[in-house]
């Protein structure tokens, strides 16, 4: 039984790596590769879309195309997300310029691949996902959300809308929820890590702003650090719980469960070190 499970895990890992290699090849452009780094490929999201596509029983001929194009869109969004506001010295300008074009190029590739297989449904589905992601990115970034609940919901959408759109079309909302919770946990943990390291965090900036407005008194981040962390931990725990409630309804969960176990250990570690550091 264990040998079977291991073999299956091994197969899934190999497939994951193969898909990653395809993405690396697709996104390579000779001049861009000389000036900017190869794009970041979020392996968790790659695993997730693989898991979704397998659960939706999409025909093999389309399955890999769906995984590749969804990831190209994700890579495009992540690439554009890395464009900062700060003015750059002349020698670094070219890098920013190419980063912008790279993101657009990856979007173009997603469209091209799906156009070649005449899949107008998926073109529309991913386009709707991109729109939704950007709607929520603007809301989170511009501090437009007025409650913690709506802020967290928006943050979740920035990470999950692409997956939501696909699963909803196939009437598998529970699969979408599962995916949304997973990417949300990942994002909150990342924001928390940034915050604790004293680096800028979009989530914690927005949370601080919310508290400042609610309390109508100057908000000192230092004093309230613990309450902000507490809010985030609460949302993470809730999401873990929701995942546990719905995971049994899904198939092909082996790799997914492994990932979950690892994420939980990360969360525990973070809590531990936060408590120890006071």
């Amino acid at each position: 039984m264990n040998a079977n499970k291991n073999a299956k895990l091994q197969d899934m890992n190999t497939r994951l790596m193969n898909l990653k290699e395809v993405l690396q090849k697709k996104t390579r452009q000779p001049y861009m590769s000389k000036i900017i780094q190869q794009p970041y490929i979020d392996e968790d999201k790659l695993l997730l879309i693989m898991f979704i596509v397998d659960n939706l029983q999409i025909p093999k001929s389309k399955a890999d195309k769906y995984i590749i194009t969804t990831m190209l869109v994700q890579i495009a969004l992540d690439t554009h997300e890395s464009v900062q506001n700060e003015p750059l010295p002349l020698e670094r300008l070219k890098g920013r310029q190419l980063t912008i074009l790279a993101g657009t190029y990856y979007s173009g590739l997603y469209y091209q691949i799906l156009a070649e297989i005449d899949d107008i449904f998926m073109i529309r589905t991913l386009a709707e996902g991109i729109m939704e992601v950007n709607e929520h990115k603007v809301s989170v970034y511009s501090h437009a959300r007025v409650t913690v609940e709506s802020l967290m919901e928006s943050l979740k959408k920035t990470e999950s809308s692409l997956f939501d759109r696909i699963t909803h079309f196939y009437n598998r909302g529970e699969l979408g929820e599962l995916a949304a919770n997973l990417v949300f946990i990942n994002r909150v943990l990342l924001e928390k890590k940034q915050f604790l390291a004293g680096k800028p965090s979009i989530l914690f900036d927005a949370l601080s702003k919310l508290f400042e407005t609610e309390q109508s008194v100057p908000f000192t981040l230092h004093n309230n650090k613990q309450s902000l962390i507490h809010i985030c931990d609460k949302y993470v725990s809730l999401s873990f719980k929701e995942i546990e409630q719905s995971i049994d309804k899904c198939e092909h969960t082996e790799l997914f469960r492994e990932k979950l176990k690892w994420m939980k250990s990360q969360q525990q570690e973070a809590v531990q070190s936060f408590v120890e550091e006071g």
Partner: protein, 320 residues
């Protein structure tokens, strides 16, 4: 005559497209909506929608169907402008503050991505795979053209062929695709929509060459942005390439870098303006227009044919 006056017989349909553009960019986020709307309201020639409509006039013209193509192509053009302003660090576009200067780079990136996705969403109403294949190919080429433009900055040793390939990708193929996609949406037969593609392509080449000339001879007021911007940014356009055929001018131009002073740039601009490069550039633009006109003459007789011819001729004489 102004372009807008020439295509006034399309006014009713252009108005439908304007309205549709406004409806399409209705975002839930007020900020996103405001940013998109500010770009839309800054105006523009709406050249791409006009070419889409004209292409459609050669087939079963139904504005309710064709508007999807027209709106989509204008949105793609708009999205690329928003991102281009971040690339060029531009504060003004059509005389108005750019999204990146009014808000910041991040908002500009989100807005551009949102508008781009809207464009694909709208075009997905056209259930013709070939339309999507053409547009997808166009978008990838467009992007490669921009990447190439960055690669070629301050590369004074490039040749004419490279310049032409760059403007083909950067401008001409989107106008070409506009003509062709309008026709495809209207069920025009293959041979005719391919001809319309080339008409758009030649007009686009001519249009971009004139744009490159105007960057030297236009005023800031006419251009809606500072003149001479191309050379300052290291974009080697046709007037520069032709001016460099004179060794004395070449010696001056090849010294231009991104560290050059305003005075050095000004001197280089004057050298180009006073050379025969401007006239020779316009001659090449004229040659492309002639090619377009020759193909237009082969089109079936209708009002759109006359309009295409008039637009082509006006583009050749435009001042801004």
């Amino acid at each position: 005559m102004k372009l807008k006056m020439i295509y006034s017989f399309l006014n009713a349909d252009i108005n439908i497209i304007e309205k549709e553009l406004e409806d399409t960019i209705q975002a839930e986020s007020p900020l996103l909506h405001e940013a998109s709307l500010s770009l839309l309201q800054a105006g523009g020639k709406r050249l791409r929608p006009v070419f889409v409509l004209l292409g459609g006039k050669f087939g079963n013209y139904d504005i309710n169907n064709i508007k999807n193509v027209a709106v989509s192509l204008e949105l793609i053009h708009m999205a690329s402008l928003v991102h281009d302003d971040v690339i060029d660090d531009a504060d003004l576009r059509r005389g108005q503050p750019t999204i990146k200067s009014r808000w910041d780079n991040r908002i500009a990136m989100y807005t551009g991505d949102y508008i781009f996705a809207r464009a694909l969403d709208v075009l997905s109403n056209i259930n013709k795979p070939i339309a999507h294949q053409i547009l997808a190919h166009t978008l990838v080429e467009l992007c490669l053209g921009e990447i190439e433009q960055i690669e070629d900055k301050f590369q004074f040793n490039q040749n004419l062929r490279k310049y032409l390939r760059r403007i083909r990708r950067k401008t001409a193929i989107l106008i070409a695709a506009s003509c062709q996609l309008g026709a495809i949406a209207a069920d025009v037969e293959d041979e005719l929509h391919k001809k319309l593609y080339f008409i758009g392509y030649y007009i686009g080449m001519s249009y971009q060459i004139i744009d490159d000339v105007l960057d030297f001879v236009g005023t800031e007021k006419e251009l809606g942005k500072p003149a001479g911007g191309d050379l300052k940014q290291g974009n080697i356009t046709l007037p520069v390439l032709l001016a460099m055929e004179t060794p004395a001018i070449k010696d001056n131009l090849v010294k231009i870098t991104d560290h050059s002073t305003e005075a050095e740039i000004e001197r280089a601009l004057e050298l180009i303006k006073n050379s025969d490069a401007i006239d020779r550039s316009l001659t090449l633009s004229e040659l492309y227009l002639e090619k377009a006109l020759k193909l237009i003459a082969e089109l079936p007789q209708n009002r759109a044919k006359n309009l295409l011819r008039d637009i082509a001729k006006t583009i050749g004489k435009r001042k801004f």
